[in-house]
Symmetry: C2
Subunit: 223 residues, 2 copies
């Protein structure tokens, strides 16, 4: 049951870039961008490559990750439609980025943004806001990693549900393994913890579809 597959799913390989009209992006960064589509598990950029673009997710899900020498893999974050990635501190990417599902991404030339930021204060301000947002995301990740397994999974579900408590059903685009690598747990522990949260009636688990039955119970675990 591939629940949250992609939109442009007939594009099964990197297709050649095509021009797109300037979208209203996060804020004032509304340059002409280049639209690209990636099939699931494709690499969008690699660790150590120069930061040439900012990437805005238009559809699908992207993960950033890093593999250490001994093969352990850490996922830095999941990026959903509307999220911006590739905003980093150094000139090279410290993580790589991969499509979780098929996805469409808008590539925004970094040098052009920087050049414009030098002339237009609002663009500079927006850049600062973007990297500040990324900083907060990573700080929250640190706080996640010191919690118990149950707290991590509960926090993760609330994070994926988003701030707006619209529906109670979420369709996770990623595998248990991905979740585990994000939370610093094994896939078995993720599975067991979901089962346990279901046993306590906090959620309902239907494979990748999760129904939040008791948000406040989850929030209580969010410590």
């Amino acid at each position: 049951m591939r629940t949250q597959s992609a939109v442009g799913s007939d594009l099964s390989k990197r297709q050649s870039p095509s021009r797109v009209t300037p979208n209203r992006l996060g804020g004032t960064i509304d340059f002409l961008g280049t639209l690209m589509s990636f099939p699931g598990n494709a690499e969008i950029y690699g660790e150590g490559e120069p930061v040439d673009y900012f990437y805005k997710v238009l559809s699908g899900t992207v993960r950033t990750c890093k593999v250490s020498i001994d093969g352990r893999r850490q996922i830095g974050g999941f990026y959903l439609p509307g999220d911006m990635l590739g905003v980093e501190g150094s000139a090279e990417h410290t993580f790589s980025a991969e499509a979780v599902t098929d996805c469409q991404v808008l590539l925004i030339n970094r040098r052009r943004v920087m050049a414009r930021a030098a002339r237009e204060t609002p663009v500079a301000r927006e850049l600062l806001r973007l990297i500040g947002h990324e900083l907060e995301r990573v700080q929250d990740h640190v706080l996640l990693l010191i919690k118990s397994a149950e707290e991590r999974v509960a926090s993760f579900l609330l994070e994926m549900a988003g701030p707006a408590p619209e529906g109670n059903t979420i369709n996770l685009p990623m595998t248990r393994q991905d979740i585990g690598e994000y939370l610093g747990l094994t896939l078995e522990t993720v599975s067991r913890t979901l089962a346990h949260l279901q046993a306590t009636a906090a959620i309902e688990v239907h494979s990748r579809q999760i129904v939040l039955r008791n948000r406040s119970a989850l929030r209580r675990l969010n410590a």
Copy 2:
């Protein structure tokens, strides 16, 4: 043996601010700042307070930390002389900051920096560099927290030793408890791990004074 105590250690309470000549700071942010001294364990700013200043550590050591509802305490980082703190994503501090030892800190008015950044591109660029640096620091912290206890302690020692391999002796200004709260370990585990590293001849432990005897062994654990 208070090894790395402070410089202005006769100032035992927050003294009234006094003007200071414009120091050559990190880069282009060389405003007039206000010098303040704090005794060990004093709060420099609190979590949730508005971000009114950037803080440059001139002497001593500062830690940022956050206490969760259930009382667990996480240290976000240690800031040594030359380091800048208070550079955050949001308008309120997400962590509080406390003096580890007596210390002197230069307070730099945030609004003035922002105003100047709007007019002078190099200042804006420097701001971006500072927050980018902070982002990298936190990303490294995430990678720390998924390692084994021995790897965490080894990484910590190398981090405290600094990039320049000058001397092999480091004087830790903080307690085992602080180290544990930074590394996501208990103070007992920190102590035992140091003892174990000493047993393998990688280091020598004299309470807070640590001698690095075999850096490459530590670096090997740095995975």
